[in-house]
C-alpha cells in the first residue's frame, strides 16, 4: 500500500512541474513591437486581419444584404480575415497574440492597448478620409496620448435611460429614476441595470451631480471613498433590481413583456422594442457612453493594408453602413448623408456636439487618477470588478 502511494506523489509532483513549465512557456515574448507611426505607405501586402465588435466587419456571411467588406477587398486587393469579441478584456488578450493588424477598441480598451505597447501611433495624413470626421471626435483622451494619435474614430453611442410610460405619471428626466430610493420604491423588482463593473461609473455620474461634497470630477476616476459611495448607492439599488442585463436581446424581451420597466439601455435596444409604451431619454445629468476607435497593432505585419482598411471604414459609405447596422452615431456628416434611413443621424444625435458634451465615454479606470488628481490613488478596474461582485452579492 505504501509504495504506490509514494509513487503517486512523485507522479503528481512531476505533473505539476510539467504544467508549470508548460504555462511558463506560454509567457510573453517581447519581440519587435513598433509603436511609432510610419512616414509613408508601401506596397499592399494582399491581406489584413481585423479584430472587432460583432457587426463591425460584415462580409455578407451573416446576412447577404449586409456586406461592406467585399467592396473593400475588390478595390484594395487586401483579403480580409476577421474575428469578433464579446468584451474589451477578451479583446485585450486577443490583441496581445499579435495576430491582428487592426483592432476596433472602445475607450475602456484603447488606453490599455497603448499602455501595454500593443498599439502603433497613426499617421493621419495617410488616412485621407480622416479629415471628414467630426472635430470633437479627433485627438480625444481615449484615442491619443501625449500628442500622439493612436486611432481613428468609428462611431459612438450613449447609455440611455429607458422606461415604460405606463409606470410613470410624468416622463423621468433624471437618473434618480434608478438611483433615488423614493423613485425606486414605485418599481420594485422591475428595475434593470447593465451587468458590468463599468456600470459603477453610472452611479458615480449620478453622485457627481447630486452629492458635490464627494468631489467626483470624472466618473472613471474614483478614489477609495468615492468608490465606496458609488458601491453603497448600487447596493441600495440592488434591492430593487429585477435583473441585470449584458445580453441586449435579454433586455429587449424584458421590456417587451414588462418584467423590466426602467433601466439603462442603448439606442439600438429601444429601436428593437415593439412595445409602444417604452421610450428612452438622455437624463439631465448626462450619461456614460462608448466611443470606438480603429487602432493599429504594434505587431502588425500588414500595416499597408491596415491603413487601407482604416481609410475605407472611415469613408462615408462604409461608415454609414457599419454604424447603421450596429445602431450608433456615424463619425462624419458625409456618412450621415449616406445612411439608408434618412433620420438615422437624428435618432443617434450624430455630430450634435452639445449632446456629446453630456456624455462620459467609457474609459479604463486606472490607479493614476484620470481627472488629474495626484494627491490620492484612484481605484483600478480590478477593484471595480471586486466592488461589482460585492454589489451583486
Amino acid at each position: 500500500m505504501k509504495t504506490p502511494f509514494r509513487r503517486g506523489r512523485v507522479a503528481v509532483a512531476c505533473l505539476s512541474l510539467l504544467s508549470v513549465s508548460a504555462l511558463a512557456a506560454c509567457g510573453s515574448s517581447d519581440d519587435d513591437k513598433k509603436t511609432d507611426a510610419v512616414e509613408e505607405l508601401g506596397k499592399s501586402e494582399g491581406q489584413v486581419s481585423i479584430l472587432a465588435w460583432p457587426g463591425y466587419v460584415e462580409d455578407g456571411s451573416n446576412d447577404p444584404a449586409v456586406d461592406w467588406v467585399s467592396a473593400f477587398e475588390k478595390d484594395s486587393g487586401c483579403e480580409v480575415t476577421s474575428k469578433v469579441y464579446g468584451t474589451s478584456d477578451e479583446a485585450l488578450n486577443l490583441a496581445k497574440s499579435g495576430e491582428y493588424d487592426v483592432i476596433a477598441a472602445s475607450g475602456d480598451l484603447s488606453l490599455r492597448l497603448i499602455a501595454s505597447d500593443e498599439a502603433q501611433a497613426i499617421n493621419t495624413d495617410l488616412v485621407p478620409n480622416y479629415e471628414n470626421v467630426f472635430d470633437f471626435l479627433k485627438d480625444t483622451e481615449w484615442n491619443s496620448l501625449d500628442g500622439k494619435n493612436y486611432g481613428v474614430p468609428h462611431g459612438y453611442g450613449a447609455n440611455l435611460l429607458m422606461y415604460n410610460k405606463k409606470n410613470f405619471d410624468t416622463a423621468p428626466t433624471s437618473w434618480g429614476a434608478v438611483f433615488d430610493k423614493a423613485e425606486l420604491e414605485k418599481n420594485k423588482g422591475k428595475v434593470t441595470a447593465y451587468d458590468s463593473p463599468i456600470y459603477i461609473a453610472d452611479a458615480a455620474l449620478y453622485l457627481m451631480k447630486t452629492q458635490p461634497d464627494l468631489g467626483i470630477e470624472n466618473p472613471y476616476a474614483l478614489d477609495e471613498d468615492q468608490l465606496a459611495a458609488a458601491s453603497a448607492l448600487l447596493k441600495e439599488q440592488r434591492q430593487y433590481v429585477g435583473e441585470y442585463w449584458s445580453d441586449y436581446l435579454k433586455e429587449i424581451q424584458a421590456f417587451e413583456t414588462g418584467d423590466s420597466v426602467v433601466g439603462t439601455t442603448w439606442q439600438v435596444i429601444k429601436n428593437n422594442v415593439t412595445n409602444k409604451d417604452v421610450d428612452v431619454t438622455l437624463p439631465t445629468e448626462g450619461a456614460t457612453a462608448w466611443n470606438d476607435t480603429w487602432m493599429l497593432s504594434s505587431q502588425s505585419e500588414n500595416p499597408n493594408c491596415a491603413y487601407k482598411w482604416m481609410d475605407y471604414i472611415l469613408s462615408p459609405k462604409a461608415n454609414a453602413q457599419a454604424t447603421e447596422y450596429f445602431g450608433e452615431a456615424p463619425n462624419s456628416p458625409e456618412a450621415c448623408a449616406q445612411t439608408t434611413d434618412p433620420k438615422h443621424c437624428d435618432t443617434f444625435h450624430a455630430g450634435d456636439e452639445e449632446y456629446a458634451k453630456q456624455l462620459w465615454f467609457w474609459r479604463t479606470p486606472i490607479k493614476e487618477c484620470l481627472d488629474g488628481r495626484t494627491d490620492v490613488e484612484c481605484t483600478d478596474y480590478a477593484q471595480w470588478t471586486q466592488a461589482w461582485t460585492e454589489i451583486k452579492g
Binding site: 505533473l15 478584456d89 424584458a254 461582485t389 452579492g393
Partner: protein, 302 residues
C-alpha cells in the same frame, strides 16, 4: 499476477491450422506489462492531460496574481486569492447559495424521478416502457439554451405560468431551481430506472410468498439495490447545478452563483488567478461530498 504466463506445453501440440503466432504477438503474450502499458497508455495519457494536468494548472494559476493595468499574469507565489475568498463575505454567501440551489434541485429531481422510474421499470408494459424512455430522453435533443430561454418566457410577466393560474415566482432563485430541476431530470431518472430494472421480479415475488409486507420489501430488498442509482443521479444533478452559470444569468434575476463569479473574473475582469481560485470551491465541495458518499459504501455498486 496469477498464473497468466503459461508453462511450455508438455504434450505435442495439435497441428496448427492458422499461421504460426507472429513474433510480435509472442512477445506481447510473454510480456504482460508491455501488453498492459500499450493497451492503457493512450487512455491514460488522455486522462492525465485532460484531468490531472488541467487540475494542477488550475491550482497553480490560483496561486498567481495579475497586474491590473497591463493585465499580465505575475508568476510569484501568493495566497492572496484564497485570502480574498475567505475574508470576503460575498464569496461565502455565493458558495452557500450555490450549494443550497444544488441541494434543492437534487432533492426535487430525486423526488420526481423515483415514482417515474418505478412506473417505467415495474408497472408499465414493455411497449409503454419504450415510449416512456423515449419521452424522458427527448428533451436532451433540444439545445440547453432553447430550454432555458423557454423557461424565461414561461416565467415572464403575462407568461404561461400566469395563464395557468399557478402564478409565476418571477425571475430569481426559485426560477433557477425550477429550471435546473427540469434540465437535469433525465440524468436522474435514467440511473434510477436502470437500478430498478436490475431488481429481479423473482426476488419481489419470493418476498411476497414469504409474507413480507410491502414496506419491508421496499426497505430490505428494493432500497439496497436502488441506492447506487439514486446516488448516481444525485451526483449528476448536484454537480451539474454547482457548475452552471447560464441558467442563473437568464432566469436568476439579479442573483449570481459560483459559475458567474468564475465567468466574470475569467471573461470580463481578466483575472484568471482569482477565477481559478473560485473554481477550486466547487471542486473541493464535490471532493468532500464524494468522500462522504464513499464512506457510506454507495459508490461500490455503481
Amino acid at each position: 499476477m496469477t498464473s497468466t504466463v503459461p508453462d511450455t506445453d508438455q504434450a505435442p501440440a495439435p497441428a496448427l491450422r492458422g499461421p504460426v503466432a507472429r513474433p510480435g504477438s509472442r512477445l506481447l503474450h510473454r510480456m504482460v506489462w508491455l501488453r498492459l502499458s500499450l493497451l492503457l497508455s493512450a487512455p491514460l495519457a488522455w486522462m492525465v492531460l485532460v484531468y490531472v494536468v488541467a487540475l494542477a494548472a488550475l491550482l497553480i494559476t490560483s496561486l498567481w496574481s495579475v497586474d491590473s493595468l497591463s493585465s499580465e499574469i505575475d508568476r510569484t507565489w501568493t495566497l492572496d486569492n484564497f485570502r480574498t475568498l475567505i475574508e470576503n463575505e460575498v464569496y461565502r454567501n455565493v458558495t452557500v447559495r450555490t450549494i443550497g440551489v444544488a441541494l434543492a434541485v437534487t432533492v426535487i429531481d430525486v423526488a420526481i424521478a423515483l415514482p417515474i422510474a418505478f412506473y417505467m421499470a415495474k408497472v408499465a408494459t414493455p411497449r409503454a416502457r419504450r415510449m416512456l424512455v423515449v419521452a424522458v430522453l427527448t428533451p436532451l435533443w433540444a439545445s440547453y439554451l432553447v430550454k432555458v430561454f423557454s423557461w424565461r418566457v414561461v416565467l415572464s410577466e403575462g407568461g404561461l405560468a400566469e395563464w395557468t393560474g399557478l402564478g409565476s415566482p418571477g425571475y430569481g432563485l426559485t426560477a433557477v431551481v425550477i429550471t435546473q430541476s427540469y434540465l437535469w431530470l433525465p440524468y436522474v431518472i435514467l440511473p434510477i430506472f436502470a437500478a430498478l430494472e436490475r431488481v429481479p421480479d423473482s426476488l419481489l415475488e419470493a418476498a411476497g410468498d414469504l409474507g413480507a409486507p410491502g414496506s419491508m420489501v421496499l426497505r430490505s430488498i428494493v432500497m439496497p439495490l436502488l441506492v447506487p442509482g439514486i446516488v448516481a443521479g444525485a451526483i449528476f444533478s448536484f454537480s451539474l447545478t454547482m457548475g452552471d452559470y447560464i441558467t442563473v444569468n437568464i432566469v436568476g434575476g439579479a442573483n449570481q452563483m459560483l459559475g458567474n463569479l468564475v465567468f466574470v473574473n475569467a471573461g470580463a475582469a481578466n483575472n484568471l488567478p482569482l477565477a481559478a481560485a473560485i473554481a477550486m470551491i466547487p471542486i473541493v465541495v464535490m471532493l468532500v461530498l464524494l468522500t462522504a458518499i464513499r464512506r457510506t459504501g454507495a459508490l461500490e455498486n455503481i
